[in-house]
Subunit: 410 residues, 2 copies
Amino acid sequence: MSQVPEQIRALDEADPLAAFRDRFVLPDGVIYLDGNSLGALPKKAISRAGDTVLHEWGSALIRSWNDHGWIEAPQRIGRKIAALLGAKPNEVIVADSVTINLYKLILAAAPLRPERKELLTEAGNFHTDLHIASGAAELLNMRLRVEQRENVEQAIGDDTNLLLLTHVHYKTGERYDMAAVTAHAREAGAITLWDLSHSVGAVPLALNRDGAELAVGCGYKYLNGGPGAPAFLYVAEHLQDRLMSPLRGWMGHAAPFAFTDDYVPAPGIGRFLAGTPPILSMAALEAGVEGFSGVDMDVVWTKSVALFDLFAKLVEERCAGYGLECISPPAPSKRGSHISYRHPQAFEICQALIADGVIGDFRSPDVVRFGLTPLYLCYSNIWNAVERLRHILESESWRDPRFAVRGKVT
Amino acid sequence: MSQVPEQIRALDEADPLAAFRDRFVLPDGVIYLDGNSLGALPKKAISRAGDTVLHEWGSALIRSWNDHGWIEAPQRIGRKIAALLGAKPNEVIVADSVTINLYKLILAAAPLRPERKELLTEAGNFHTDLHIASGAAELLNMRLRVEQRENVEQAIGDDTNLLLLTHVHYKTGERYDMAAVTAHAREAGAITLWDLSHSVGAVPLALNRDGAELAVGCGYKYLNGGPGAPAFLYVAEHLQDRLMSPLRGWMGHAAPFAFTDDYVPAPGIGRFLAGTPPILSMAALEAGVEGFSGVDMDVVWTKSVALFDLFAKLVEERCAGYGLECISPPAPSKRGSHISYRHPQAFEICQALIADGVIGDFRSPDVVRFGLTPLYLCYSNIWNAVERLRHILESESWRDPRFAVRGKVT
């Protein structure tokens, strides 16, 4: 492996985010380019999880619902996430999973325009979004219309009830112009529901400024909330009291501890809670979100752009002729914080990289994807990752039969 | 406080479950009678949570989905719970919350009998059950019929689609005869959905033997899975492939990592998964469930009965004349594993007890409730708890104004 060049080491020395790397546990010998699938462990999450188990659960027991603020965690963490979204503190709440939050918002919002019968989304959207929308459409006697990305905007019409889009595409990294698409849909009388799973904690977001009315997002990717961390949802203030969650649970009741037979939804964002939140996972998520305290998201984005551009340039220069095709947009304003390549042997290459300590991921059928997380990656990591990729391609070490074995999660 | 009498100490000495107490963390100076709301911390959960955070998340990172069995956790923990339910290993899965699992099963099962338009349940059922059923009924154009407990069985009729009952009542502890009620409903052409939240890990269960077809239950009560632990659901094998979850998520897809646009439900119980499970909370739940390994549930139940009978007898003998009215059934076969009293000052008495280290809970409007958890309570605990209750009643120390202050969770 060749030495990290002087000019790349200089980038690290000048990196204003370099110190934040120390907020995370990063295993030796690993270059972790999968923080867009599971964010790295914030050191704060270790003590937070330990405290929550030992002191809050173990010692204070049931009293912790009041004494350690468990009951307020969905709103409290929601407020902290709202700061990363460009949303008001009362517009975001942590609950359930992205899947379930999508369902809540589709079923809550569709009745606002009962005469419009179409849910519109994109072919190749993250599949849970497509699946949940197909179930919702059946239940509501609506149609799910699935259009190719390039045709989605022109498909918005008189019968469009709700437009369901993922802001940054999970595979290609393509990013929609949230303000323009939301405005276009609104002019056509439709409402847009944004999935921010691959955006939050990575790309600049300004939901209020951009006119977004509904959104959901993931806690375990760039927010570093831990495996399967609870998700969040956003409902613009003006809509909250007009929407009813289809999942009416006690935690979304106006008075959960009055134990009344009748359902009275909580005022505001609280009505989108359903059951009891998983507190240990909530605690880790809170530590993850707090890892952004003191972080300027513009600086994060500037570094993301630089990491991407360096990765793309090095692959172009040093891995030429091996059939890697970059499918992520070259223009920063059109992309997220990961870079993806198509290759016929993407699966094997990905496995060979992992065996060599470079953890990216494979996305079926032929994409290898690298997450660029400015808080804990440095420019030298990018150099070393591309060098290992080059070595694998040059040596054809990916042909080793063990790299063709498909696991359960691949 | 008077000494624990000899005959009660003898009960502890002869207790075959005495050694299991050492599997739990129990804070000094506390008699914990709220394990039916939040189970105590199993020592195993401390190391399990630590490992999951540090080694699985921190070091193995995304690889843990395969290497540490995260992806199989819902089925694996489900199999362990199935053993406590008298169900087949492939009939139970861990997912989401009780609230959300109720919704899944109502919406999945109701279309089996489309001509029947009534969801039948009990007034004063746990409110999340009532709320979720009311939302489901509206969505399905069905009626929610809510009958007083004594009228529920006779209300089952030609239009009953689904009977939704909680096996052990959260407030009174009254227990339905699962076999008889399920059979009665089936004869009338209806299906029964059991909420086992206050049963599992406490009372004897034999779902297969009793003909149960659908059930949900809670992970954080007697299963000791930690605050807000994920819940479980049970679907009898013969029904699984006839039901479609309304919450179609990628984790319930037949091939989650094929990333296909079309939804193909997983065969069997797996289709009832929706989004990504909260792994830290799952890990603690697994430790909680494993706390039952080597435990004979009949012995647990025998001790529960003895703890209850001792509690009831001591209150009758030593707290007479203070207006406590036991609302839990005297016959063991008719009750669960908690004992509840009605009292006009139930709230203040409960607060005074907590201040005195006896943690039970208040259930609105006038009930104080004590959970009896045979794995970590001893007979002396019962004596001491009732003595402190007697002291509070005799001295009227509950009149202290600080005990009237209502918290968020009361």
